[in-house]
Symmetry: C2
């Protein structure tokens, strides 16, 4: 697919009037062709107007029609698998097999939401029939279901150029809910974004949907994103990225004349607690598993285990020694952007002033160390007492590092858990006996994270119905939602109650004869299917 | 029940150190005994600490235990029906029969939530079993359910001293979700608040729940409320009141170091569209129905119809004349507080400078007009063109007034509907033929309101499973939630995913054998009950 470097404004393409920018190849640090053009504020306004126009008809498409659209996008991703993976590899230096797999995941996300909207029960239809004889007053007929919010702004993330970007989970859940989407493409992988944008725009046209159903805006700075969140036509925001950028969007959304829902997935240390049973299974294997998890994708996962609590013991010492050895022997990693690499080194150096650190050889000491995007793995070690005094010692540093927090004994884990802020995940490694002996720990962790993991590493995030990729601030802006899994659709819908409407004027989801055959509640109880 | 004028700090009572204040009898404008004492900031902090302590055990009570607690509160309200109604009558001047009925409604709200948590399915349990043979990697076992958010701050409203106040729908839904609550009692009916607080505190003790499960703070100014929303132990906010106060709470919640969910129900004009069929049924009856609705409770309903769109016709003229007659003949109304009465007159006078107005005789012209809380009914009339130029002409004025908006024809209704901001309700009056001819109007109204009503007045708000008392800003802070009906519980819960947990360590809601017999999804499909 030939890249033009231009935004998608509905069915049209953006102009060449905006600021120009280029992607950089992290493997060399050199700019890549073509030149991209930031969308202008006029183009943004046009995209927002088209989205508002599209909303009235797109919001009324049937679940079946929306499923066909989402499946067509999924097919588009699969049929451009090589284009997407190769361009993403160039722009991110993530391994090709990982990116090929990410195309599959991206397609599967659209298919998951296709199945949800085709099934149709996600709208949570509720019927409370009229009670004409109720005293002292009759009860009217009341029927409620979820309806889409309106046009949504989505911000692609840097670390998953496919699954969390232009055609990522946010876009899939927005479109599934019945909302038009305007994506701000991430400037670090604009070519990948353009291919994904083309796939979605083509699907909009092929399904004869209103052109404003999808727009995609390029932009290298914060101007376009800030203006998008402030635009009156935008009714909600989905974002994955840094705490600083996420909080800025939250504040902008809250500060609008009409504040809007804003879901930002931001920062998570993903604490891991090591219980005795995990060490008994073998300190070396544990160290290898953990090293693999915190350096996966060069440590650029939202769910990277960034703080590991371990109580002193001979086996714990062995585990730490094994981990140090793995870090010392590690080859340099390549980070996604120069900005991430600089911030990684800045934050690491600041942290090393307070805690002990072991690191892999510096890139300059190695043959392949020429790119400014290269980074060393780092293992910090501190104590619980120090961490409680300086909680920022376990703040997320985006990259291939983690912090070992030495604890006196496992009782200290309760103190440690209570001191945690919000995280996407919290992990406990041990055996069933450990779990039974640490119920209190689990109960505290459940309050601190969206997902609690037993004997696994947090870096794998399944796209299923029970997945929760969320958590209390600063992990996300709102702990009541998730950005991964089918529950993510609920960020973009709102209940509407129809009172006293004749059958013919009701949406099919709420008609007595249940033409769509969806699951509903009648007076709060599951409706018995008609015979 | 003897009133002490002191806050409830868990099982203890507040001190006499805070600022003193009194309620006023709206019927006379005179202060009422006893003197109340505002909670001090130290007492607030103590209540918050107790709530945080209570959370760890209260959040783990079974649905059955929580149902027993909620039903005991319901019984407490009923057994203090006369005390409550009489004190509320003194403090609000609302009619005794209305207040007696409101006690029943309040008790029923607790019973509705008792039935929801006893049933248990509200936690939306989802199970995605492990797929050990999946390629390229096994899928872990994933199980998600809703868990309570943490201690919640609730602000009682002035206009429903029982059903939306200390023991109102917010408190009932917070406690049902498994969250401790700290209520800021409304200063206009503190005695009613104290009786309700006593009922709930007694139920906490009788059910042997942790004392911090419930606290209630008095305060006459904004200090205590502002400090409550800022307190780190508070995890969410529920509020019903004015746009100004609600927006201040939203801003405070969003501006915290850790922002928290804040549901505020604020301001709604509840537009009504009159279609030809409604006028054919009789202009006089329509005028009477509308007059009854906008003056119900002296016009102090969140759902008061504050803007009525009517297309010119001979019957429309007759309807407007009938309505004018009803307003001109109306006795003075008594408002809830001096502040509401002053604001009602200020806003009415400001509006009358721009539009024509008809009003009932001034209280001073009548025998019973001595209280400064008295107010005249007012009927404003403007045109759609004027309203579109000055949208503030239809902003909510809390009191017994409404605005007639004259339209050229029913096609103008589309223009009118598109110009609306968010509302709690939107109403269409007409016949089935009108409804079929105005599909587009309904589709626009659905985007503007939480509840769309056909042939009814919006002032009745049923407490059921399908009720939506919500809507886009400024009706509420977040259109994805409701403050009335069983869906209100979802404001105070968040999903938590348990990955790879052994059966014995899972909450019963997520165990394979489903010991609670709740409805669940397995791989996204309803689980077949075990034989």
């Amino acid at each position: 697919m030939e890249l033009t470097g231009l935004s998608f404004i509905g069915a049209e393409r953006g102009s060449r009037n905006g600021t120009s920018f280029q992607a950089f190849a992290p493997s060399t640090g050199e700019p890549i062709q073509p030149v991209f053009r930031a969308a202008t504020l006029q183009e943004l306004d046009r995209a927002a107007q088209l989205a508002a126009e599209a909303f009235s008809s797109y919001s009324r498409t049937t679940g079946k029609a929306r499923a066909a659209f989402l499946r067509r996008i999924a097919e588009g991703f699969e049929s451009h698998r090589d284009d997407l993976a190769q361009r993403a590899h160039l722009e991110t230096a993530l391994p090709l097999p990982r990116l090929t797999g990410e195309v599959t995941r991206t397609a599967n996300q659209f298919r998951l939401f296709a199945s949800v909207v085709e099934d149709g029960s996600w709208v949570q239809a509720r019927i409370d029939p009229a009670l004409p004889d109720r005293q002292p007053l009759p009860r009217p007929d009341l029927r409620a279901m979820l309806r889409p919010l309106g046009p949504v702004a989505v911000f692609g993330a840097s670390n998953f150029p496919l699954a969390f970007s232009v055609g990522g989970g946010d876009t899939a859940s927005v479109l599934a809910a019945g909302c038009p989407v305007i994506v701000k493409a991430h400037a670090a992988h604009p070519g990948t974004g353009e291919i994904a944008g083309r796939i979605i725009a083509d699907a909009v046209a092929a399904e004869s949907l209103p052109p404003g159903t999808f727009s995609m805006l390029f932009g290298a700075g914060v101007e376009i994103g800030a203006a998008l969140v402030k635009h009156p036509a935008i009714r909600a925001v989905g974002f994955t990225g840094s705490l600083r950028a996420g909080r800025a969007l939250m504040d902008a959304a809250a500060d609008r004349p009409e504040p809007i829902p804003c879901f930002t997935e931001m920062s998570s240390g993903n604490p891991v607690f090591i219980l005795p049973g995990a060490l008994r299974k073998g300190p070396a294997a544990l160290a290898q598993g953990l090293f693999g998890s915190f350096t996966l994708g060069a440590g650029q996962f939202c769910t990277k285990p960034g703080a590991v609590f371990v109580a002193e013991s001979p086996q714990a010492l062995k585990f730490r020694e094994e981990l140090e050895l793995l870090v010392k022997q590690a080859q340099p990693f390549t980070l996604l952007t120069g900005g991430i690499a600089r911030e990684y080194d800045r934050a690491s150096i600041a942290r090393a002033a307070h805690v002990s650190v072991v690191e892999s050889p510096s890139p300059s000491e190695q043959e392949n160390g020429s790119s400014p995007f290269r980074a060393q793995s780092r293992l910090f070690t501190t104590t619980l007492d120090e961490l409680i005094k300086q909680p920022e010692l376990a703040d997320e540093i985006f990259g291939p590092d983690t912090v070992i927090v030495r604890c006196g004994n496992t009782d200290d884990y309760l103190k440690a858990a209570r001191s945690l802020c919000g995280h996407l995940t919290a992990t406990v490694l041990g055996d069933d006996e450990d779990l039974a002996a640490n119920r209190d720990l689990i109960q505290i962790l459940e309050q601190k994270a969206g997902r609690v993991i037993f004997n696994g590493f947090p870096t794998g995030v399944e796209v299923t119905h029970a997945m929760v990729h969320g958590g209390p601030y600063p992990a996300t802006s709102d702990p009541r939602f998730t950005s991964v899994g089918s529950l993510a659709i609920y960020r973009f819908a709102r209940p509407v109650c129809f009172q006293n409407f004749p059958q013919a004027a009701l949406p099919p989801e709420l008609q007595d004869n249940n033409p769509l055959g969806i699951r509903r509640l009648r007076d709060g109880k599951p409706e018995t299917p008609a015979p």
